[in-house]
Symmetry: C2
Amino acid sequence: MAKKDRKAGRRKQPPPALRELLRIPEGEPVDLASYDSRATPGGPADKAAALAAVPPLAQRLAGLQERLYAASTAGGGRRVLLILQGMDTSGKGGTIKHVIGHFNPAGCRIRAFKTPTPEERSHPFLWRVRRALPEPGEIGIFDRSQYEDVLITRVRELVPRRDLGRRYGQINRFEQGLADNGVTLVKVFLHLGHEEQRDRLLARLDNPDKHWKFSPSDIEDRALWPAYQEAYELALHRCSTSAAPWYLVPADRKWYRNWAISTLLLEHLEALDPAYPEADFDVEESRRLLLATG
Amino acid sequence: MAKKDRKAGRRKQPPPALRELLRIPEGEPVDLASYDSRATPGGPADKAAALAAVPPLAQRLAGLQERLYAASTAGGGRRVLLILQGMDTSGKGGTIKHVIGHFNPAGCRIRAFKTPTPEERSHPFLWRVRRALPEPGEIGIFDRSQYEDVLITRVRELVPRRDLGRRYGQINRFEQGLADNGVTLVKVFLHLGHEEQRDRLLARLDNPDKHWKFSPSDIEDRALWPAYQEAYELALHRCSTSAAPWYLVPADRKWYRNWAISTLLLEHLEALDPAYPEADFDVEESRRLLLATG
């Protein structure tokens, strides 16, 4: 025992959890230019190592998802909500395909928020968000979210500045309420480089099979890049709370992005540590009755 | 050319499409006992061959799904609805995990129909079904469906027999309307053997991690097996129409079930032959404007 203890004492500290590395500190102003969009904090050494890490990660994610879902059948109220935000081509759709694709689709509730419909516009901005929340046991995924209402809305001046200013607090109270009700929020900002976006948009133009993913409005948004970065900085600053922190994931390297978001989800699911519920029926009696049916 | 023609003439006929092999003929009475639940019609020789067939199948399915979705962004209204019905443990959930898992989850709309809620019961039986339909470009998946309303409802005598009798026609008209509106229906009955169900239920009882999947009501339903088979025979007979045929998939072998349903979906998607839409903007002009943004 003594020997083991000494060994343990010499053991190197485990690497910090990725959630600690990527979390936007609460209450501090954010300067996006200080974050390298090509960085790979805490990640595998290279693409090959990241791809090799996928199968075991995927297996653990699927196992935890099943436990989360199983727990809900016995009344467990826990659920997870992944929020994806980022500029065009930053990889929101790719994350859903490659990361959420590891889960059992029956337990995922995915919602893409687009330009509000007339009905959605007739309600407070959180109305459509509340209707898309995951049920207990589910993994919810938002491709864009309530944050559009302080991002494009701010950049394009779609609502009076005074209303806009109130929304950060409304979002924080909304998210605090979700956290109080068993929702684990994982808010991810996909931090894409300005040049990388140009290359990705050009790639869409170069490939006729990708033209459907392109819209001339993407160019308008790109021309407003500095205003968007500022709007993101404000949202990350005002809304990274202890109940629902923001994580900044450098997004220029797709292999890092997929690895990092998988790992963030894994860390949050492991912290929940969902358990298969115990039988609420007499197992032996059920076996006997079952065998009696032939 | 002549030589090529002669060769073509000697070539063996391609195997019949799986949809032809598995389709329940329209208007004919169905005798489930005449179908072997362990059979593998049209399938690979064995489990190893079926598993080897999965990656290329998965790739083709994902590619077709993307085209279907892309087409919808240009106004295409086509969509697919997979309906899964079958006795407990017949593999509805397993199909979603293993077959639907090949698709991009962002384009799937999955709904499990359980015991109707009080709100659902206050509406006509198709009400909750209409609200769960896939949007254009999506693959919808129903784990149970409107058919519960002529299955458990019939076996457990939950509605007057006269109302029940009208439902087959209501379902047929509903499905004809869906087909007329661009919905490709793929209705799959998972044909499970009586002994195989006992073994699967016992396996759930033997594994504490599976107890959450078991309910004593599963034994009650099993005791009503003959009545359920009769109810299925009637539903397959009355509702296998040219607009929305039923497919009977032998379900004792999971590898065959997954291969067969993947292949049925593939055949239907290939028949739709969705195409990437052409750009509705000036590609060269967009490239020029994009490069001007730096």
